[in-house]
Symmetry: none
Subunit: 414 residues, 2 copies
Amino acid sequence: MKRAVLMVIDGAADRALRTLGGRTPLEVAHKPNIDRLAAEGVTGIMDPVAPGVSVGSDTAHLALLGYDPYETYTGRGAFEALGAGLDLEPGDVAFRCNFATVDDKMVILDRRAGRYIEGADELEEAVNSIELREHPDVEVIFKHTVEHRGVLVLRGEGLSRHVSDTDPHRVGERVLECRPLEDTPEARKTAEAVNEFVRLAHEVLRDHPVNRERREEGLPPANIILLRGAGSLPRIQSLSERYGIRSACIAGIALIKGVARAVGMDVIDVPGATGGLNTDVMAKAKYAIKALEEYDLVFVHIKGTDAASHDGNVWAKVRMIERVDSAVGYIVERVDQENTYVAITADHATLTEGTRDHSGDFVPVLVWGADVIPDDVACFCERACMRGGLGRIRGLDLMSILMNYLDRVEKFGE
Amino acid sequence: MKRAVLMVIDGAADRALRTLGGRTPLEVAHKPNIDRLAAEGVTGIMDPVAPGVSVGSDTAHLALLGYDPYETYTGRGAFEALGAGLDLEPGDVAFRCNFATVDDKMVILDRRAGRYIEGADELEEAVNSIELREHPDVEVIFKHTVEHRGVLVLRGEGLSRHVSDTDPHRVGERVLECRPLEDTPEARKTAEAVNEFVRLAHEVLRDHPVNRERREEGLPPANIILLRGAGSLPRIQSLSERYGIRSACIAGIALIKGVARAVGMDVIDVPGATGGLNTDVMAKAKYAIKALEEYDLVFVHIKGTDAASHDGNVWAKVRMIERVDSAVGYIVERVDQENTYVAITADHATLTEGTRDHSGDFVPVLVWGADVIPDDVACFCERACMRGGLGRIRGLDLMSILMNYLDRVEKFGE
């Protein structure tokens, strides 16, 4: 049976960097395994969504997994909630949350309440005891994830994701009222429920023992929950419905796990997969090899490269790419090379110099497999892949191309 | 006056084949004439519909002739009927048919009634005498084509192509009831008419002298007609309306002739054009040269390559490409080279190893003509054309590109 590994090196693409004498991290990194796949396979460049369009990791991954983000992106909150392991139902509205610190006038003193919150699970429990009075039919489900972060799900009839954030994204400003973003009863009801939740959560948190202790220790109390990115479950056909495949995701961060769950992938948790520069890339490779026994498509996501770019750390990005290369070598040595395809790409470029943020640049892409017709490119990097045989494709094309190699596409016509 | 020849080598594209040491049939075939056109012209790769999307010959040809198959593909039956020479009217519903053999319980014993049916024309006559009683306003038009095959057209007010097949596609199963595939009076009426037709055809065929004779000779009687692929005429602007050109099709098989007729091409019948590996390619070339006296666009279709791939016969595919090359040489020597453009491509890849079926791989394409700007590619094959000057285009682009060379495109804006 034919199988495929799709490896996405988050934000790996970049520009001609001054620090590297006009080269990119992918050009400078020593990566013999990935470059061997480039030499034996076909390469190209890819616009995650369209030329010049800058994307988030969520929208980019939707595209790479074959889902048009303009049709299926329904707010980040839903993907975060799925990634945090909450089971969303159709109609639920989910938010990304921060524990934060406010003063008596609801002015924000610390958007992260000090970032590290011992006892956050107790706070979670307290928040989950909240019962809305104005909208008693709306259920509150809150989950703390890591550090100051969490997700909130509102469950009930007639809710809408079209409501504004309560997070002003700035210290020194007051917590915002949630407003309906469309003139519908659903949006109004959701905004009311959110505002009541924020008030009640503040009441519950203000004098909670965990926060009394924090104040005594001179730490900022986690006395408010800021909400942003309202989202609901996209209505999409799963990868298994679409292609008849079993697929699994190996990723360190909740957002990517959430996107994977939204398209019907199983999520495999890997000990040591942190989503940071300290992630255990080799552990991911080992789990990928194991997953190939059971799954037709194994999607491996590596975040560290993007994190290095956001930090403006060129050499950390280079080193991360080199660590990924070892993992690729481990995988390729162990797969059934006659029947396994490997695709490697990035979900977007992240500019390590300049904005230190995602950009709308293209990314390189390679596809390797026994019957793939190779081109003349022998380096997986932006410059060489411009001459690649795939030409310039879009993120949305990638899954079709892979599924075609796996003989999983249905013929249109006869 | 500028003219063009569009030659489609059906299923000619392929993958890196083990039998050929990782090369493709187009790479291995000795084809000096086609490669000369590649060297002198411009090449590229083309997705018949979109990257990774696997297409039938019908949908692919609609795209190559400039019609978006997602908008214009209205079921294979209509194209088969047109290809069989029936004149379809808007509202007609057409089916592909097989003569088959059933027992008393309508269980299928032979889906092809032995394949060779002497006296099929008499059976055709008998079937055409059928008058539906439940829907007397629906006219029955049946035509036998080749071997066990035929087409059925139902003509009348308020019919729909959204009905299911009666052909279970498997021996040992009962003939299926035709069901409406949408909840409309039209679909219900059509399904009823189909089911009555199948019953009456069985009655007419069961004791027909041709079948009595077949039974005496120990041959399976052609006592049922299996229907599939309900289709109706797409509502499209003809090539002549669109571009003001006269166009003709030279093809061996009914389906391609049908697509050509649907877009308004004249169909030129060529003696010896069988659609198989034994087709007289050179006869097609001769008719193409003659047709260029009268037509602005001559579309030549060659099926043998696809047939070789479906048979898994790598070398038959290579040889067929070499025979096509001779025909191309014949054509190019005889055209007015100052004023004639030649485009050569495939309608899709067919994988000679592996699935032996159409795939979603790209195909190579070349355009040759006196004022075409050449690229550096000198081989018409998948690998070389990846570096082609056309880049990666879509099937839908090809006709525009050709009509542009023929000065037939209207300016959009001023």
